[in-house]
Symmetry: C2
Subunit: 272 residues, 2 copies
């Protein structure tokens, strides 16, 4: 995983997102993720990619006995310690692929918006399965395959379509280029649709996020779900994040109803 | 369900599809659907939307004790009786929503490419759950949400992008309309990407398939999977249909790697 979250510019932009400023209440998926949490009273909780530590803090508030928040980014861990410190919580700079995953040690493993940076999802599943106690729950939120298979992970806008047309109509395009929609400047570009391509070619996707080039990993739905089943997990919930009614007036939020961005998955290691 | 399969023109076109002419071997998803069938020796099998009866015949060949194939289309049932008759198989003209679903009567229920015509998926799940014996399996293949949420359920082609651009650049477009890519005629149109829109607005989609206007129903992945879990099923497989290597040289088949078209789901009614 490229540690983009240690990049200064990216980190500053990230700090401006509503999920950073307002925590769980600022995250559009929280109203769906929250009810998927199991009861945490007296439980041991592991957070893979804890970021600012909002979910760790929530777990502690729910009565968790101990919480370990891991993040590859030093900046994130520093922020988590400043914002969401708690006597029950330990924060540690550590990547998902470096953690030791001791056998049958955790009641609950949570991972929010991290797994789409991991190429080998199956290796994470295998380790999480091992580190969970029997009956333990793994809950994660991953970028949706429709999102990660999006061309440049962006909409096609009216002007983008214009650019494609420019290619198609050749010389004529040069003559009219002064009129191209993307050169009008200052206009709000209207998303036409969400373009999906190369769905069955999982792997690295170069995207632009918060002003930086960011590498993500596309996984098919088959990989995401069959990987869990093949590792012995039982699926308890598969839910696509949909913005709540009260957020729909935030600019751009209605477009979130046009294509899925996040996939919430809850699975359990069976008691034998 | 509009019974498009009783429409003469549609039916004739359908007869020309390789899945109609060549049966299971001509269906791109069969290599993935087949291994999801449970052992059928001595079992009772219900096929919801049996079409030409290929899956009924396969079940009989696998040793099923009895097979009931239902289809809303008289033409399909006539064809099934002609092509795939077997002493173990009963074919009946009956819609999925009209069938009585007697309690705990079937070991295996299969449904191939029919559920995307059904608005109330949950009602079907509830009835299938009831009609399965404990331990029974429900296996279905439904059009993938990425496919049913596709704008007009078609690619955006170079020329389509040109049309959008024509809107965007206004008057200039009129001047160059003689040059528009979609008027060049005879050229093979290159798919640019698969456009997704209105994903979270399930319901009717008007599409064009085999030369006819066909109404389908878009369901989100959440509806498809949570509906099963909420009705008590255990998920055993979720697999996206991907054309096999040996079919990739069929014209257009490589584009099937660019977006998912079908979702194969296997679930079980638990023994209590």
């Amino acid at each position: 995983m490229d540690n983009i979250y240690n990049n200064n510019s990216f980190f500053e932009q990230y700090a401006q997102m509503s999920r950073s400023k307002d925590g769980l209440a600022g995250a559009g998926e929280w109203h769906q993720l929250k009810p998927l949490f199991p009861p945490l009273s007296g439980k041991n909780v592991l957070d893979l990619g804890c970021g600012y530590g909002w979910h760790c803090k929530y777990a502690a508030e729910q009565g968790a006995e101990s919480v370990l928040g891991l993040d590859l980014s030093e900046k994130m861990i520093k922020e988590a310690k400043a914002r969401n410190a708690d006597s029950k919580i330990t924060y540690r700079v550590c990547g998902l692929q470096e953690y030791e995953y001791p056998a049958e040690s955790w009641d609950f493993v949570v991972s929010n918006l991290v797994l789409h940076y991991i190429a080998d999802l199956d290796a994470v599943y295998r380790r999480v399965y091992r580190t969970l106690k029997p009956g333990g729950v793994f809950l994660f939120n991953i970028e949706h395959p429709v999102f990660t298979a999006g061309v440049n992970q962006d909409w096609i806008y009216e002007s983008t379509a214009g650019e494609y047309a420019a290619d198609a109509i050749g010389k004529i395009a040069d003559e009219i280029s002064g009129e191209k929609a993307d050169k009008t400047g200052g206009h709000v570009r209207k998303p036409l649709y969400w373009p999906v391509d190369n769905y069955y070619m999982p792997g690295e996707r170069n995207t632009h996020f918060l002003g930086c080039d960011v590498k993500k990993q596309h996984h098919t739905l088959t990989q995401i779900l069959m990987g869990l089943l093949n590792n012995g997990f039982t699926i308890e919930a598969v839910t696509e994040a949909e913005p709540p009614q009260e957020m729909l007036d935030i600019p751009g939020m209605r477009d979130e109803l046009r294509r899925p961005m996040m996939l919430l998955v809850k699975v359990r290691k069976q008691t034998v």
